[in-house]
Structures are given as C-alpha cells and as structure tokens.
Assembly symmetry: C2
Homo-oligomer: 315 residues x 2
Amino acid sequence: MASISEMLESGAKGDRRAVARLISAVELQNEDSVEVMKQVYPKTGKAHIIGITGSPGAGKSSLVDKLITQFTNAGKSIGIIAIDPSSPFSGGAILGDRLRMQDHALDADVFIRSMGSRGYLGGVSQATYEAAQIMDACGKDIVIIETVGVGQSEVDIIRIADTVCLVLVPGMGDDVQIMKAGIMEIADLFIVNKSDRDGAPKVAKDVQMMLEMMEKKGAWMPPVLLTSTVKDEGIEEAGKAVMDHWKYLNETSAGHDRRAKRMASAVERVIQQRLAGVVERAWTKKREAGVVENLIDRKIDPYTLTEQIMSEIFK
Amino acid sequence: MASISEMLESGAKGDRRAVARLISAVELQNEDSVEVMKQVYPKTGKAHIIGITGSPGAGKSSLVDKLITQFTNAGKSIGIIAIDPSSPFSGGAILGDRLRMQDHALDADVFIRSMGSRGYLGGVSQATYEAAQIMDACGKDIVIIETVGVGQSEVDIIRIADTVCLVLVPGMGDDVQIMKAGIMEIADLFIVNKSDRDGAPKVAKDVQMMLEMMEKKGAWMPPVLLTSTVKDEGIEEAGKAVMDHWKYLNETSAGHDRRAKRMASAVERVIQQRLAGVVERAWTKKREAGVVENLIDRKIDPYTLTEQIMSEIFK
C-alpha cells in the first residue's frame, strides 16, 4: 500500500484515486487521519477556498456547475466538496440537482467529492475542512465547498473558506432564516439566483439595505449580484466577483487577518476534538460506576461531579 | 445580602425577586453560578419541563399564553423562559407577540423570564437549562421554555425538556426546515396552529405521514393536533396532550431513560464548558508566543501543536 507521502505526490500529479483515498482516511477521523493531516498541512495554503451556502432549492448546485465551467475555462484546476445532508428525507432532491454537476466529474481538472455532514446537521465538519486541505495540498487552485442549507452550522463555513457566497432566491422566506442564522454577517458575496422570477430585484434591494444598516467593517463591501443559471445570466459577473474578493484578500491585510483567525480556529477544533475523547473516557468510567443513578437521585450534582472528573484528568 | 440558600427558600415561598436574582446569577456563567447550581440541584427533579419550539411567526407565544391560563386554572404554578434572539433584526416582531404573554406576569403563580440566546443563535444555552432548574427548585410545577425558531440549536431543547412541542403553521415552508434540523425526531407533540388557515389539515396530514414513515421507537406515538389561538380552538386538547405525555413519562420506563440521558448530557455540558476554559488559557499562552504566525508559515501544523498543548495540560 502506498504511503501517505506517495499518495500526496500522486494526488498532486492528478491521480484521482490517491486524492479520494486520502479524503477517505480523514473521513474516519481517527489516529490515521491525524497522520495524514500532519503530512498534508505543510503543503497547504495556496488554494482559494470558496464556500457556497444558501437554502435548499436556491440553485447552489447549478450555480457551482456554471462556475466550474468558467473557472476551468480560465485554466484553473478545481476541487468540489458537496456536503450531503445526514437526514434521509431531503437526500433525493439535492442529489437530483447535483447529478448535473457530475458532468464535470470526467474533466481532468475537476475533482468532485460528496461528504456526509455527520453530526453537524447540514453543516461543515472537521472532515470537510480536512478534505479541503487535502485538495489544496494536491495542487487544486480552487476548492469549492457547497453546504446543504442556511443555518447555524453553515455559519461555520467562515472557519474554512476564504470567500463565502450566500445564494438567495425570491419567495423562499430566506430573509428570516438568514438573519436568524447570522449568515448576513459572514457572507462576502450575495447572489440572488433565479433572477427571472418575480421579486428577485426586491430581494437584492433588501439585502443591500441590510448590508448598509450593518455597516460591515473593513474595506470590502459585499457585492449583491443577480444570476439566472437557467438563462445563463450574471454568471460571469458572479465568478468575477468571487475572484475580486480573492484578489482583495491577497492584496490587503484582510487576507492575513482572515488566515490567522482560521488557523486559530483550526487549532481550536483539533483541540476540542481531542479533548472530547479524553472526556468521553473519563465520563464513561464514571457512568459505568453508576453515577447517573446518583445524579437522578440527587446524591451528587453535575458541578461537583465535573470537579471530580477534572481533578482526575488534569495536572 | 441574602445567601443562596436563603434566596432559594424565599423563591420557594413565591418571592419573585429571589428567583430573578438566582437566574441573573447563572446568566453570568461564572464561579458564582456554579455555587448557585450546586445548591439548586438537590432541590430539583419535580417540575414538568415543557419545550415549545417552531418557526418565528408560528404563534408560539400566543399558544404559551393560552396554555398558561389553562394550567393555572388547574392550580399549577408556572415558570416561563422566553428565549430572545441575539440578532437585533428579529427582536421587534417577537417582542410584540410576547407582550400579550406579559398579562400573566402579575399572576401570583406565573413567573416569566426572558433570556438571551447568547452564542447559541436562537437556541438553548446552558444558562437556559440552569434557569429552568432554578424554577424547578423554587417549586414551579411546570416550566415552559419557548425557543426562537426551528434550527439545529433548537434540537438541544430535548436535552432540557421532558416534553417537546413543535408548533407548525400552514404556508411557512416549515417542512424543509424541520426535516433538515432533525426536529421531527425529537418532538413529542405536533401542534398545527392557525388551523383556520388554508392548508392546516394538509400540514397535519403530512406530519402524520412522516411520523409513520419514521416509525418512531417506543410506546409514545406523538399526537398531531390542530389549534387556533385566535378562535380558541383545540387549546384544551393541546394542554391535555402535554399532560398525557408527562403521565406517560412517569408511568413507564421512558421517563427514567429520558432523565438518565438528560443527566448525562447535563454533565457533559458542564465538563465541556469547564474544559473550554482550560483550553482557552493554554491556547492564549501559545498565541501570545506567536504560534499563529508559525502555523501560517507552515512551520508547525495544528495537529502537532495540539499534541504539545495536550501534553502540557493533561496528566
């Protein structure tokens, strides 16, 4: 079996199976994944990571499909991570849209991977982050991550992506969801898709107004664009705006600030994950000793119990 | 100043200020909150904790308002926790609805408290859990927690409530949101409100069908009820169904199982919170030593760094 460094080397030369195997390794989120990531990490930092988020039915997959064509025409190699919902209910509709995207799966410069949202309900998991890093290390110029919906978990995309695009459509009652989820605050780009529908200009105007109300700090004022993937309108402008944002990040201190924040949050996630394991072990021991019954009977409280556990595991 | 035990005693006698002060103490989530909770915990375990969740505009507050009347007429004392959204955008509409609820604020047997969702985006925080425990310890028979919306964070209500009611309305596109968020799986009771509107029976039928598809395990089949708070229809049945669920929990092993799970998750939350503090300190030290620049420059990776931090803080 090929070593991690051999797989990374093959992956960088365009060997899809090598990339796929590395991603499968991090999907397991075990000790092997850590070994993979230790070798992946030094090779990362070049790709432009783009997050595409928005409600189901907003046309994210069709838009991604169009952007792939545009970016590959410009000579870029692309990795796509399509996050699949954990729920068996909504699977069908989303897969339908994504089938179209699969037309690109045979392009030499496009690598597409679906990933489960496992425990993150539509959101962005540590494995997603690591898969993006692997694509980066394997020389993809652009990595696009398409999330499942708009929600709290989708806000996490900011912890991974350089550029966050929020895709909206008229008549979905998205406004409430967006404001609730805090996505307004993190999007670098607003795309109002299905622009041929009634109400599209109003959605764009409302977003613009909200952006002005928010007075987002920094030199980047998120553009609000209208697109129609069906009529093939506004797509070029959308792709250009994505690239403008990348340029902005690289030419100003904003890029460094963002990278520093993302780095910090990457470490925090790894620490959290590792800690969860430690806690799980300590807590399992206590559970096996019957502590839950003692809690139910009010013989001990969760706070005193925590202090006991903490003193057992910490220096 | 009164001691914690004195405040608990006064609170149990109906002193609103004492209850309010205890809740304010846990809202701070500091060492004092832990002291409060250590004394609160032994007195808990009697109240029926009811979670009311559903999209903004579903009429949750009006429903809660009606349920308060019904329960107080049955001689119950009630605590209400109304979770307010962190976002400044949606504040207005929700407060309007809730003003009506405030009519009960002068009832001797009703204690109403608004709490921020701070860092939980519309959801259920540790402070919410602890406030419910305080109300329980102060002798409330019923504690109702009203969340802000339907989303991932709302699913957490199951970690606090004995009975989870999901309030739906026709024409909100709730179905997608609900399935996405996994709320279907946790609700013990489905209330289709605004039953006078077109489409209400269809929503009820759809939910019923989804429930049958899911084949929820256990003896409790969640009832699906139609209510109209405006026409005062179906409210009594809804209140009765809530009580039926409580009876079911107390008369079967389901109640014990649920309590055991909640207990475990309470401990896990407390541990997580405490660990977060430890990690924060260790991580801040590293940051101050300039480790983020080293990460950006790929001189170290997050995984090796985590191993360093872990070996520094753990036995």
